[in-house]
């Protein structure tokens, strides 16, 4: 007799998220946001679970995940630093800030520091253009960020985590 394979805890949580959204395919993006909030990313293993729940093909779900910049396939570092690289921040020496960030964190955009503490990401506009350059650290917005302020904010973020 065939027994149903056990679902991994991750898959169960993904299935629960879908069910909270009524298994509706039009809520797929909301579902993916929530899965990522719970699991830190959208792991490959949960894609078939989500697809089955909302009655889409795996290819369709995969297509949505890969279309949007927000969704990760691997978990991020403990902190996520997003620096704006759009025009307004460019006009206020945003590229110098980007270079400083890369050098001081010793990582590149879209990468995570070797110790797993910080993921650095580029973002195109945070809506803080009157106070450029802007960045967002773990969902918190900062304006008028120069190298000095960047170092302060990062030090504060890392020390809070240590406590």
């Amino acid at each position: 007799m065939l027994t149903k394979p056990e679902m991994s805890p991750e898959s169960e949580r993904a299935r629960d998220v879908c069910s909270r959204h009524g298994n509706r395919p039009d809520e797929l993006i909301e579902i993916l946001h929530e899965v990522q909030d719970e699991l830190g990313c959208v792991p490959e293993a949960v894609v078939p679970v989500i697809a089955k729940a909302v009655n889409l093909s795996r290819a369709e779900v995969h297509g949505v995940i890969t279309f949007y910049h927000d969704f990760r396939r691997e978990p991020a570092g403990r902190h996520v630093v997003k620096i704006c690289r759009a025009e307004s921040c460019q006009s206020m020496a945003g590229e110098a800030l980007c270079n400083h960030a890369k050098a001081s964190l010793r990582t590149g955009f879209g990468e995570t520091t070797a110790d797993g503490s910080v993921t650095l990401e580029a973002v195109y506009c945070l809506g803080n253009c009157a106070l450029s350059p802007a960045m967002m650290v773990d969902g918190e917005l900062h304006g008028r960020v120069d190298a000095g302020r960047f170092d302060e904010i990062i030090a504060e973020t890392l020390s809070e985590a240590a406590q």
């Binding site: 509706r24 395919p25 039009d26 809520e27 797929l28 993006i29 909301e30 993916l32 946001h33 909302v54 369709e60 297509g63 949505v64 279309f67 949007y68 910049h69 927000d70 969704f71 704006c84 759009a86 025009e87 307004s88 921040c89 460019q90 006009s91 206020m92 973002v123 195109y124 506009c125 945070l126 809506g127 803080n128 253009c129 009157a130 106070l131 450029s132 802007a134 967002m136 969902g139 918190e140 917005l141 900062h142 304006g143 008028r144």
Partner: protein, 516 residues
């Protein structure tokens, strides 16, 4: 009890408004003083954020930019009674930057408690919806048409005509969708309104629903705006509880429901058909038009899609009449536009003025010139797909038709100022690079044209056959303009070609190799 206003607008928070609020609370407790702290939206004087206001008998007195370190000194200076301090600006309403504005859409933003319906109503809120509930759909659409309101998202399409198409369409379900995917650099007005006066958007969308017979609405907010998302969701819950949303709005028998949907970091989803796909849970691939969304929009049903500020302009039109709104502006650009002063600017912020104001007035009189103190060389107007306007054109009046005639666009009124250190060839390259990153990939001119555009500009910068490559670039731009499915590919040539046209010297600089 003294009332103190400390914004919790994202821009204010980005400059430490949260810490200032805690510090003021702690200092008041320490001194045994009673005060009521209200977390308002921003007044839009963003270079003064965090701008703390104290309510006095004479009116609200402003202090800013306040840091947590200034708090004890402010108490010492008796700021709770409007006392003098070096950060003081006197009465908020008398600050030149604010006093010279014509605030219609943003009249309440920064003034009221964003989540208090009582406060909202006390400041004229829901008067438009109340008036709309007594009118027929056709009459509401007529008022919006007569006001001359045009889409504030950038394209400037007459709002009334769009609404009429949806009103006249026969369908079992119609939708109202708000495009709050404010992805353009240099814009923050949608965010400010959603955080500072969310009920205005709810009211405008509800009026649209009643006008066109749509009973469901969705607000698509970009994920980069977590504060706005949270505020809108709370405001919707409050509006439902107070029966300003739901099955029977204020006992009128009219129904309208509203929900927030979160974007996921794709710039292209600010394009209306891409947004519809995203709202349906799909990849944000642009749809060909026709069919237009007003006839076949969300889930194939007739759909009104407007920008946040278009909806937010509507309550005033219904409350005060089309004539009132129409009396502002020039030519075929009626009403006011909330201009956003951004980039390299000393006094960045939101300036709501009637159409017809010039770039120079905005950037010099309001903005106080560049932040760096150097001369302004170019202003990108209307976002990443807008032209770079040179100093010689700073005296053009902000009017859709005047700008179009000069190869530029007013768009949503976002202004990004660059000083004379800018390299316009790099900016042109960035426009193509951005298009390559954010293209949905559906049509070839945009998907491949943008990549080729970067390569061609790289060759020009490197000094390789410049004259020939400039011709190739021009040809490529023309192909993108003529052949792209939507504004992403179709307008990316605007910043590129304007940079080449107005700043040719930047495309003819000696290369590093030649300089040796």
């Amino acid at each position: 009890m003294t009332r103190i206003f400390i914004p919790d607008d994202a821009a204010a928070l980005s400059m430490g408004a949260g810490k200032v609020a805690s510090a003021i609370k702690a200092e008041a407790d320490k001194r045994g003083l009673q005060l009521e702290i209200i977390r308002n939206g921003s007044r839009g004087l963003l270079w003064l954020e965090p701008l703390v206001e104290v309510e006095t008998a004479k009116g609200r007195v402003a202090y800013g930019p306040v840091t947590a370190k200034d708090v004890a000194a402010l108490f010492d200076a008796d700021f709770l009674k409007g006392g003098k301090h070096r950060l003081g600006h006197g009465l908020t309403e008398e600050i030149d930057y604010l006093k010279k504005q014509e605030r219609l859409t943003f009249a309440r933003c920064g003034v009221i408690d964003p989540l208090s319906i009582d406060d909202y109503i006390a400041h004229g809120g829901f008067a438009g919806l109340t008036a709309a509930l007594k009118k027929t759909g056709a009459d509401i659409v007529k008022a919006v048409t007569e006001s001359g309101l045009r889409g504030r998202g950038g394209a400037g399409f007459p709002t009334g005509i769009k609404w009429k198409t949806v009103l006249d369409a026969n369908a079992d379900q119609k939708y109202i969708c708000c495009n709050a995917d404010e992805g353009d650099s240099g814009t923050f007005a949608d965010r400010m309104l959603m955080e500072g006066d969310p009920f205005t958007l709810i009211e405008g969308m509800t009026i649209a629903g009643i006008a066109t017979g749509a009973t469901k609405g969705l607000i698509y907010i970009r994920s980069e705006y977590p504060h706005a998302i949270a505020k809108m969701k709370q405001a919707i819950a409050h509006a439902i509880a107070a029966r300003w949303l739901g099955d029977n709005i204020q006992g009128s028998g009219k129904a309208f429901s509203l929900a927030v949907r979160t974007g996921a970091g794709a710039y292209i989803c600010g394009e209306e058909t891409s947004m519809l796909e995203s709202l349906e849970g799909k990849r944000g691939m642009v749809r060909p038009k026709p069919p237009i969304p007003a006839l076949e929009g969300l889930f194939g049903k007739p759909t009104v899609i407007n920008n946040v500020l278009s909806f937010a302009a509507v309550p005033d039109i219904l409350a005060k009449g089309a004539e009132f709104y129409k009396n502002y502006g020039m030519g075929r650009s009626r009403g006011t536009l909330p201009f956003q002063l951004a980039g390299n600017i000393r006094q960045g912020g939101l300036v709501e003025k009637a159409f017809g104001i010039t770039l120079r007035e905005l950037v010099e009189d309001f903005g106080g010139g560049t932040h760096s103190g150097r001369p302004a060389r170019a202003i990108q107007v209307g976002g990443p797909l807008g032209s770079y306007v040179p100093a010689s054109q700073f005296d053009l009046p902000m009017d859709y038709e005047t700008f179009a005639a000069n190869g530029a666009m007013v768009g949503h009124g976002g202004l990004v100022v660059f000083d004379d250190t800018v390299d316009m060839a790099r900016q042109a390259r960035f426009a193509m690079e951005f298009c390559a990153i954010e293209s949905c990939g559906k049509c070839t001119p945009c998907r491949i044209g943008a990549v080729r555009g970067v390569e061609v500009i790289d060759r020009i910068i490197a000094g390789i056959e410049r004259d020939k490559n400039l011709i190739v670039l021009d040809d490529l731009c023309q192909t993108m303009i003529d052949g792209s499915l939507c504004a992403m590919g179709g307008l990316t040539p605007m910043p590129v070609q304007s940079a080449v046209k107005h700043f040719p010297e930047d495309f003819d600089r000696p290369t590093a190799k030649a300089a040796e």
